[in-house]
């Protein structure tokens, strides 16, 4: 597991530094080529977004100088920007990748963009062949972890901007926004932004009322809506389901008595007032009316804050999920290390068995098919019995950080070469006389013997 990651992100470096590290999409193939041609680097991938530039690599023996790559690629001098750079190795790198993909490392925790960006970087690296084996597995796992975090926590389920909270509330009131009409009172920037969000969610008819009629007209044109002269405002407002107000008026434009009239005209269908003006355009008393919901800028901000708080709480849960996944990934990687040893051990014993069988065949003479089968079963059975405990020990050793010792001992004991396909020298083994064959798949050796054997091996 020789993964390394090096980079700068919004936590370690200000934007002036991050932009020096940014790698535009057009230069990505060049950078990846350079990275993987470096000494010791087997695989590589680069994520470059406005909040982070991160270089992932897998090296042959855990030795790769990513700092040098950065210096050479960007032309920095020795030690330049060093305080801004972070670097993680092996398991820490795995954890970092999981956290980035799950959006736990993001500026707004839980935002979904980062996963898409990592996926994009992965696709590019894959297409170029710079990600092909272990790093590939790591990234695939990271995407699965990200999905799990999204599904099992509510980290990404709430809105955290004023405009999206407004849309969310509107949807809580009206269900789908398809075909709903919106009235903009005042033609400010915030109004426009909120309207854009609502339209993106299906709102149809837009009315724009403004004291300066020309501005109303120009804003209405943008949304394909209708400009309303300010004098007719109170007549047209009841047509709208959602009213966004942001005028510079020094006092409230909509008061309780207006609300009562609106409701009457609308047969009490609900209305949603969003007041983003300071001083407020909408009298708080309007909120007391059955069917009218008024949210001012502070109320929206409060919802945003509470959602952010929820996300922070959920992030704690997500972190422990990630930790668990890192442990699983580690265990899997170690099992993968142990597999070649088990395979070569099995092959070694099978060769021995065949050789011994061939040797005694002459002495046994003609055998009936039944006898032939019995000899096969007997010899295989003996091997399986002998193999059982060492294999179990090897597998459980895989979960132990000191597994390499056990693997080495087993290899030495059986004289296994590093290459599992290598033939090993057969040693003389006492030929077993053809005894009555016992059922081959008997219960394996008792588990209790295993620890004793592990101790023996470790000595």
């Amino acid at each position: 597991m020789n993964f390394s990651v090096l980079g700068v992100n919004h936590k370690t470096a200000p934007v002036e530094v991050r932009e020096r590290f940014a790698i535009p999409e057009s230069r990505l193939p060049e950078a990846l080529g350079k990275l993987t041609s470096m000494e010791g680097v087997e695989e590589g991938m680069i994520v470059s977004t406005c909040n982070r530039v991160e270089i992932f690599a897998r090296s042959k023996d855990g030795e790769c100088d990513l700092q040098r790559f950065v210096r050479e690629f960007f032309g920095f001098s020795e030690g330049e920007y060093e305080p801004y750079i972070f670097q993680h190795e092996s398991l820490d790198a795995v954890k970092h990748v999981f956290r980035v993909a799950s959006s736990l490392d993001s500026m707004v925790v839980g935002e979904s963009q980062i996963l898409g960006q990592v996926k994009e970087a992965y696709a590019t690296a894959r297409a170029l062949g710079t990600v092909n084996s272990q790093l590939d597995q790591l990234l695939t796992r990271a995407f699965a972890v990200a999905k799990k975090v999204r599904n099992e926590t509510t980290i990404a389920s709430s809105s955290v901007s004023i405009a999206s909270v407004a849309v969310e509330l509107a949807e809580k009131i009206f269900g789908s926004l398809t075909g709903k009409s919106v009235s903009l009172v005042g033609a400010g920037k915030m109004c426009e932004l909120a309207a854009r969000h609502l339209i993106a969610h299906g709102a149809k008819k837009i009315f724009v009322g403004n004291r300066t009629f020309d501005r109303a007209v120009s804003l209405a044109e943008k949304f394909d809506g209708e400009a309303i002269p300010f004098e007719r405002l109170y007549d047209t407002v009841p047509w709208a389901d959602i009213i966004i107000s942001s005028t510079g008026a020094p006092h409230a434009i909509f008061r309780k008595e207006h609300g009562e009239k609106f409701l009457q005209a609308r047969k009490n269908r609900p209305m949603f007032f969003i007041d983003i003006a300071v001083p407020r355009d909408i009298d708080a008393g309007l909120n007391d009316l059955d069917g009218i919901f008024v949210y001012n800028i502070d109320d929206l901000q409060q919802v945003v804050q509470s959602h952010l708080g929820d996300r922070r709480k959920e992030a704690v849960r997500a972190e422990s999920l990630v930790d668990e996944e890192v442990r699983k990934f580690e265990a899997r990687a170690q099992t993968a290390e142990v597999v070649p040893t088990i395979v070569s051990l099995q092959q070694h014993l099978e060769t021995l068995r065949q050789a011994e069988l061939d040797r005694v065949r002459g002495r046994l003479g003609e055998l009936t098919p039944e006898q032939e089968l019995a000899v096969e079963t007997l010899t295989k059975g003996i091997i399986n019995k002998i193999m059982h405990t060492p294999i179990t020990t090897l597998k459980s050793a895989a979960r132990d950080p000191e597994s390499t010792t056990v693997i080495d001992v087993v290899r030495k004991l059986f004289n296994l070469r590093p290459d599992p396909k290598q033939e090993s020298t057969p040693e003389p083994v006492e030929a077993a006389a053809p005894a009555p064959a016992r059922p081959p798949e008997r219960a394996p050796a008792p588990e209790a013997e295993a620890p004793a054997l592990v101790k023996q091996i470790q000595k």
């Binding site: 809580k172 009131i173 269908r269 609900p270 919901f293 919802v303």
Partner: protein, 251 residues
Amino acid sequence: MLMLRQRGERFGKIAVPAVGIGIVFHLVSLVETASLHGYSELLTIRQAESALALIIALIFTVLYVRYRTASPAALIFPLIFLLTFASALSQQRTTIAQSPIYGGWIFFHVCTLIFGYAMLFLSFVSSLLYLLLSRQLKRKQPSSWTSRMPALQEIDELGYKALLLGFPFMTIGLLAGSVVAEERFGASFVADPKVLLSLLMWAIYLLLLYTRWSAGWRGKKAAYLASIGFVLAVCAWGANYLSKLHRFIAP
């Protein structure tokens, strides 16, 4: 005849499948009763109560599938429980006196009213949920409860549709009952407490529909009216035990 309604103690992963299992057992039990004793068995009060519980449970399931919300459960489950409990407790196999002439009418009367009751109960539940959700939205403190609820307008439409669907059934059912009663007891049947309560309930629902249609009453006012209607409906149902002529008579 045991009512094998399984009820989840906690709302959550087990409750909804439990309702599903409950419905299946319940249905089996009702069908078996009917096949053993003929359809007239539905006319016993315990079977009518049990059938109503079944329909309400079915409505809950439909709502759950459609809106992915189990929140009506808080209001619906106690009622289902009460109905099945009452139905399981009542020992006497009482039924409305049968005569070949009225049998069909009475069966019709019971069926339409059971459906009508279920729909009106649904409308009552929606108006309460509407009120709760709109309070929550006005208090401006989002909670996990609000995020799991369907939208305000969806609840509103659901309640209105239930009302629109339930009211005709209620009307037809009451009419059918009146026709039979008129035949048997003459015009004096109106003076019976059960009949009076039923008529009052019917009038409330008419009022509910009218205010909704003409003035678009929603929220608080509609919820109060619907609550009155619901209380009257419960009374009318309970009045079976008081009424002289609408008594379920042992066969």
